[in-house]
């Protein structure tokens, strides 16, 4: 497949404006200005683009909700907080193809008649901050941002807003709170951000990769775009692959590529040619899958049928030597640390999960601990404002479901040592 999102990124100066223009950049921006804003929204809708942050919500529909709200001004916010462990798919765009993101933001601003855009960038990417700030300045200097873009009287301003190490701010309402200078705690929905977002105004929040798809759709047209990958959720998809594969990294592949193809064809198989034990397919909060489930197509439609989710497309690969109880414990420790504390089932329950897992992984598990894990996770699932609590419950449930025998070995050894 021809690369678009990662096009040109192997070139040493790919982040530079001249290199981007030479590779055909900012042509989609000019093309979009020839259409009415509402036509651009219709084209995105027709393309079938679904949000790449994890939820998979149809982007064109989200845009049309915001465009239908009469409140002004409107805002466009790019979620560049990719904090889901295992996820580094947006980093090559931020660091090596920043003008693609800027062009996408500018087209989004035009389509939504928004004059201000923000890129909420995770604090852990200081290098990307420098690159983005530099690229934005270049775009201002050349008239791709500002008060009179391309001499067409279009106004759009763009600022990079740096997060400060809170995973929860990847959730869009917490992100907006953080952008407003508050603690990053999720808001009750409705009202949704498309109606009452940043400063109470209609706000579209889209992931970096989603925004980076916009120039592509404008450039090749919705008809051609919708033929890439799975027709139900088309387009290219970035996969960040880590763990025990020979060639970890970020891969741009058609939506719906199977885990097997990603792991064995693109990443060269398992390190040291060991046996595969498990895969977390879409970032740490997506349910783990056993080795015999890797023929599933990685897309929003098919992954739930196979008991997991596409999530952010962060594929974490575990070979036969990994102690999955320890992986589960580490994931839950993380989620306990990142729980914002607003909802009791998450704040308290995830702490209990961690405490039981510490006991089991640490060699002092008790009879009944495995069922207790399931019981506690059941009392978190569906009882919180945002998906963090659900994520923690789902992690525990999937690890126990597929690898219960590993938990039992830990518990049985502990019980036999104690007696």
């Amino acid at each position: 497949m021809e690369k678009f999102l990662l096009r040109n990124t192997e070139h040493p100066n790919s982040a530079d404006l001249d290199a981007y223009i030479k590779a055909g950049g900012y042509k989609a921006l000019a093309k979009s200005f020839a259409d009415k804003p509402s036509d651009v929204i219709d084209e995105i809708k027709k393309a079938g683009l679904r949000g790449r942050g994890g939820a998979g919500f149809p982007t064109g529909i989200k845009w049309s909700f915001a465009a239908a709200d009469p409140k002004k001004p409107r805002y466009v916010v790019c979620n560049a907080d990719e904090g889901e462990p295992g996820t580094f798919k947006d980093k090559p765009i931020l660091e090596k193809n920043p003008h693609l993101l800027i062009e996408g933001m500018c087209i989004s601003g035009y389509a939504l008649e928004a004059e201000y855009g923000y890129i909420y960038l995770r604090g852990e990417y200081p290098h990307a901050k420098v690159i983005l700030d530099g690229a934005i300045q270049q775009a201002y200097d050349k008239g791709f941002l500002g008060d009179d873009i391309l001499g067409k009287g279009v106004r759009f301003h763009l600022v990079v807003h740096q997060g400060a190490g809170a995973y929860i701010c990847g959730e869009e309402t917490a992100l907006i709170e953080s952008l407003e200078g508050k603690r990053g705690q999720p808001r009750k929905r409705p009202p949704f951000p498309v109606n009452e977002g940043f400063l109470g105004k209609p706000t579209v929040v889209n992931n970096v990769e989603t925004i980076a798809n916009i120039p592509y759709i404008v450039q090749i047209g919705a008809d051609k775009y919708s033929q890439i990958g799975n027709p139900d959720c088309p387009g290219p998809k970035l996969f960040s692959v880590s763990g025990h594969v020979k060639k970890p990294g970020v891969y741009e592949l058609p939506m719906g590529t199977s885990l097997r193809e990603i792991i064995y064809d693109h990443c060269g198989g398992i390190t040291g040619d060991k046996a595969l034990k498990a895969v977390i397919p879409g970032g740490i909060t997506t349910p783990v899958l056993p080795a015999d489930s890797i023929d599933c197509p990685m897309d929003f439609v098919n992954m739930p049928k196979h008991g997991s989710m596409l999530g952010s497309g962060a594929v974490m690969v575990f070979d036969e030597t990994v102690d999955l109880v320890k992986v589960c414990r580490r994931a839950i420790r993380f989620l306990e640390h990142e729980s914002c504390g607003k909802c009791t089932p998450c704040r308290e329950g995830v702490g209990w999960l961690r405490s039981i897992l510490d006991r089991v992984a640490g060699g002092s598990g008790r009879n009944g601990d495995i069922d207790l894990l399931l019981e506690v996770s059941k009392n978190i699932m569906g009882k919180t404002f945002c998906p963090l609590g659900d994520g923690a419950a789902g992690v525990v449930q999937s690890f126990v479901k597929h690898f219960r025998s590993e938990f039992e070995v830990h518990v049985n050894n502990a019980v036999s040592v104690a007696s």
């Binding site: 580094f88 200081p126 190490g165 508050k182 970890p248 990994v322 992986v327 994931a331």
Partner: protein, 154 residues
């Protein structure tokens, strides 16, 4: 309390945002860049500059793990131990930092050279285990290379 340069930076930030409260996180970053951490007095100054109550500034500064509320060593090591780094041996690196530099997580070495913070994924999983030293990313580090890497930071 803050230098003229820092004050100017905060004024520049205010010109880019629609309201002053939204300038809080970027302004706290300006303070941290200048002083290495954010003192209670600096929080008060930022609150006055942005017309945000002192208690609100404190609430925000304490919510985000990357805002430092005590003086740090000359160099900040941010070592990831999340799953991708853990399975590649990050926990052994924590042991090495403790044994060789006397560094505890959230602590500073006795000579004030390094501070250590354990991170929750820094998005460098393809180069696990990984750490940030100040703003520099170091990937694929191991027991043999971590000392040589840190030796470059005086």
């Amino acid at each position: 309390m803050l230098s003229d340069k820092a004050l100017n930076e905060i004024h520049l930030i205010k010109s880019k945002y629609q309201d002053s409260r939204s300038c809080l996180l970027p302004s706290l970053y300006v303070v941290q860049k200048e002083n290495g951490w954010i003192s209670p007095a600096a929080m008060e100054t930022v609150g006055e500059l942005l017309s945000v109550p002192d208690a609100t500034v404190k609430g925000v500064a304490t919510f985000y793990s990357m805002f430092r509320r005590e003086a740090m060593g000359r160099h900040l090591i941010q070592l990831c131990t999340n799953v991708a780094c853990m399975i590649m041996g990050a926990e052994r690196l924590v042991d090495i930092l403790r044994d060789k530099y006397g560094l505890q997580p959230n602590g500073t070495s006795a000579d004030g050279r390094f501070s250590l913070v354990i991170m929750e994924c820094i998005g460098a999983c393809d180069a696990a285990p990984a750490m940030l030293v100040d703003a520099d990313l170091h990937g694929n580090i191991n027991e043999n290379t971590i000392m040589a890497t840190l030796d470059k930071y005086a």
